[in-house]
Symmetry: C2
Subunit: 427 residues, 2 copies
């Protein structure tokens, strides 16, 4: 007799865990709907090419990919955006723009196992397709912030770090970084927070081969720690002014929504290099103890890569794992409680038919009801009612049946009432 | 530029389709909770052995199985029960009995593609573990019936065909069918509805090698079309009487719940041969046009096969595909409607900051709100409000801003009101 366990990196959701997952998903859905997003879903298994087309062949080593029985190369989905792009692309002509869609897929990556790192997680994906203007970028970040606010998190708990790939590119070109070395420089500045200034300087000179004045210009860009300073330094320069004005509009929109306190401008946020084409953001816990809670931005080139449609697009993903850690840490997880509206008690086996009838009547009225599936001693039945956290017990004995009533006991107050059987549901 | 599509047999859920799926899942959850079941979930990917242990090696040809990057033999889950048995078994000592759990997994089978047959579906799974008595069997079937009733289906739309593997076995043994040919006979009578009486008779004599009187006895068993007739014929016979009394209790419990009209006794319902050990049932549409809507029964031997725990268990599965066909056929699918509480209209671009502030305020108050992500002509904005089926428009122009008000227009009645900006959420 073998003893089976879940695969490493996969979670079993026992009822208490599932209640937390339900709370998270319900909150995600509620905010997405308030923002006018519609839910969609795609298959958890997709053609492998869909992912290599977006991310290159290297992605395969991180995938749950295999050859199916029809000789197709397939993969469990590692992310949702390619599916979204495929689905929107396939019906691009018939869909009202902007498309505002969300989804809550389970995603899979074959990560080398370390420190209990998971190989699956659930992720809220919220995307806007068909709108090139920054109004859409502001709407997207506002939604991400409001999702966290809906869990009870405040500006003391998390921050959105915002950058813009178009502005960063323009600034680096203006600093005389050669176009062909931009990617290298992105990679180096992406480490700004984790490496010393000297190390960065050495890499910009060595790896990227930039001259001393160019290195100084590049470092100067990142010395500006807020948007106003960047605007002041570069706002009047041709080719930069437009980018800065556009980003200014983005921050103004977030201010108008009352969300300015959650947003911090930080040009060192780089994210997926080949992928993002405009504003990008990451949400972090304010103490900087956890991995990113969410991340996203504008990716205007993806749709034409996987479909016939060439539409601008932007979106973010928020996983359930880091979020759950943060909520647990802040005491914001709901206490799992299974609460029955009533537990029915039969004094003798003779009342079981009436008890079954009453159970059905109450359930039809929408009550959550349980009872002993076999006759048990009365004490044991009351014990079960308490263990299942029932709001009330409804007791039927020979006397009650004779009188056509039930005794309803409120389990909190202990108060008892005799109520005609037909009226229990409205009692 | 490749043009991607979903894999054959996999569904894309565009928002209108997803709305139907949500309606189905919400109804499933609602009834499960009324019956006091708690939701759980397991991984969609499991060790392959978990399925071959239950169903034998032949199952592999129907599975999405593969070797993962850590050389594990794994499979997408084709059914939920092995996962349930594994999870309950792993914590058997600590769980309150009976365990009443439900789940809504997506399941995968590599079926040869025919007539658009799907390779994935969603399935409500509802199981009770740890209770051997027929009270649990009645509770389970009542829940299955009430799930369909909750969709608006009636006794005119569907029927539960019920049999009992223990009684059938006892009846066949009493008819002098040798123990070692029981499985063969089960397989033959399973076709009773689809083959002629002569064909069945020939197979019982030929394949099963039964003598003429035994064949006659076997056929006589199935000539009884209701439970009372079986009780009258066999109730007094030792070894049969106990089984019949037990099943009588089961039907009485369903009668006591007022569900007798949905249930039909039918000994020819056989189901999974090696698997079921007691009462079994299948739910069919009353016109007999569709495949089974749901099926299940008692499987007391599974837990000890996949865990250290030896606990009696029973459960059923109900897929989303046949159910959806039936609901569509009966006009019981909800009309997909995306209904915004408000669409905000700005007369000129100057009102956008106030509009964004108002959008955020209304969303914080729980409203579903949308607006143009860029400024559009007023006519176009009203057109969008109508297309998105908004309940109201909230209009902001220069005059309104000057007066600190918004104009709320009810989109159904056309009625308009001027309301102070701060009071729109409560208007």
């Amino acid at each position: 007799m073998p003893n089976f366990a879940a695969l490493p990196g996969f979670r079993d959701f026992y009822p208490d865990d599932l209640a937390v997952r339900t709370h998270i998903m319900r909150t995600w859905r509620s905010v997405a709907r308030r923002y006018g997003f519609e839910e969609y879903d795609g298959p958890p298994l997709e053609p492998l090419d869909l992912y290599t087309e977006k991310s290159g062949p290297e992605i395969v080593q991180q995938l749950y990919n295999f050859t199916d029985k029809g000789d197709r190369e397939v993969s469990l989905r590692p992310e949702m955006t390619p599916t979204l792009a495929r689905m929107v692309g396939a019906r691009a002509g018939g869909l009202r723009k902007p498309v505002k869609w969300f989804s809550i897929p389970q995603l899979f990556r074959y990560e080398r196992q370390q420190r209990g790192r998971l190989r699956e997680h659930f992720q809220l994906n919220l995307d806007i397709v068909g709108e090139p203007g920054v109004g859409a970028d502001a709407e997207l970040l506002a939604a991400a912030i409001d999702v966290l606010r809906a869990f009870g998190l405040t500006a003391d708990d998390f921050v959105a770090r915002v950058s813009d790939r178009r502005l960063l590119r323009a600034l680096l070109l203006h600093a005389q970084v050669p176009e062909e070395r931009l990617t290298l420089v992105y990679n180096i500045v992406d480490k700004l927070e984790r490496e010393t200034r000297d190390a960065i300087t050495a890499r910009l000179s060595g790896e990227a081969g930039l001259g001393d004045t160019v290195v100084e210009e590049v470092l100067a860009i990142f010395r500006h720690r807020d948007f106003d300073a960047v605007r002041e330094a570069y706002g009047g320069i041709a080719g930069l002014g437009e980018e800065i004005a556009r980003l200014g509009e983005y921050f103004s929109a977030l201010d108008a929504m009352g969300l300015g306190a959650f947003v911090r401008f930080d040009l060192s946020v780089v994210r997926g290099l080949a992928y993002y084409t405009g504003a990008v953001f990451e949400l972090f816990d304010a103490r900087g103890e956890l991995r990113a809670i969410a991340g996203g931005g504008r990716y205007d080139n993806l749709l034409k890569q996987v479909s016939d449609a060439d539409l601008p697009a932007l979106g973010f993903g928020m996983g359930d794992v880091v979020l759950r850690e943060l909520l647990a840490d802040r005491g914001l997880l709901p206490r799992a409680e299974r609460r029955l509206d009533a537990y029915l008690v039969a004094i003798t086996p003779e009342e079981r038919p009436e008890m079954l009838g009453l159970a059905h009547q109450l359930r039809d009225a929408g009550w959550a009801v349980d009872y002993g599936l076999r006759h048990l001693g009365v004490g044991k039945q009351f014990k079960n009612a308490a263990a299942l956290n029932a709001r009330r017990t409804v007791v039927l004995g020979p006397d009650e049946i004779a009188d056509g009533v039930a005794v309803i006991r409120d389990m909190e107050s202990g108060e008892e009432r005799r109520v005609p059987l037909a009226d229990v549901a409205s009692a």
